[in-house]
Assembly symmetry: C2
Homo-oligomer: 135 residues x 2
């Protein structure tokens, strides 16, 4: 967490919850999880903390199809993409060097500048597929 922010137990709790999983979680899920665990933190604080972490590049954010924001603490802070399980939220960090160069060249060839790209892969992880088959 950033050093110009005061380290409060609420921020530590949110950061800790993120550190403890490799799954993308919504603010509401994290809030509920902290409450269940006894580390009650206000919902507004969860949102503020996630926002601060995201602004500092310490968590990655993505949006579900219906617009909800999901957060995840990634091992690396450099640019990367994700393969996310649409059922449990588990994610794998992936690289796409060919995608990077493709995006840059396509953008430039169309006269666009300041190109950014959104590349996320969604699937069903092996565990979720197994339990779906079993159930």
């Amino acid at each position: 967490m950033n050093q110009q922010l005061r380290m409060t137990k609420q921020r530590a709790a949110v950061a800790g919850a993120l550190d403890a999983t490799d799954e993308f979680r919504s603010a509401q899920q994290l809030h509920e999880q902290l409450r269940d665990r006894g580390d009650a933190v206000g919902l507004a604080t969860v949102y503020r903390t996630l926002q601060a972490l995201a602004a500092g590049g310490e968590v990655d954010v993505l949006r579900t199809d219906d617009g909800e924001a999901l957060y995840r603490r990634c091992a690396r802070t450099e640019h990367h993409h994700h393969l996310v399980c649409r059922s449990c939220g588990r994610a794998v960090e992936i690289d796409g060097p060919t995608v990077e160069s493709w995006a840059a060249s396509v953008g430039a060839s169309q006269g666009f500048t300041e190109i950014e790209h959104t590349v996320e892969l969604w699937g069903t992880c092996a565990d979720c597929r197994a339990s779906a088959t079993a159930g």
Copy 2:
């Protein structure tokens, strides 16, 4: 528009507004645009119509960073991606054959199934850059 739906003037107006532009537009923008033009259509109807068009694959949908849905009538119905101007919404349809195969192979190598991918490029188009520089 789908033939098992009744063709009403409201639906025609929404479809017409989409046909008249190559920019991604939000439901609210379309609603306002129709009202300004005199073709007043209820907001709920705009949403419903866009939903129906999207379900039939007749318009493409994407989400802005803050979760708002944007709609665009694309020339082709086959799978493709977009290079979108983050300022005016103008979009260019693009192909990424290498991205397609990369996505599929990465997904499979991690044991994920039913892989889908989200690939959108964002930039500033030449016109918007020019007016930004001028202003």
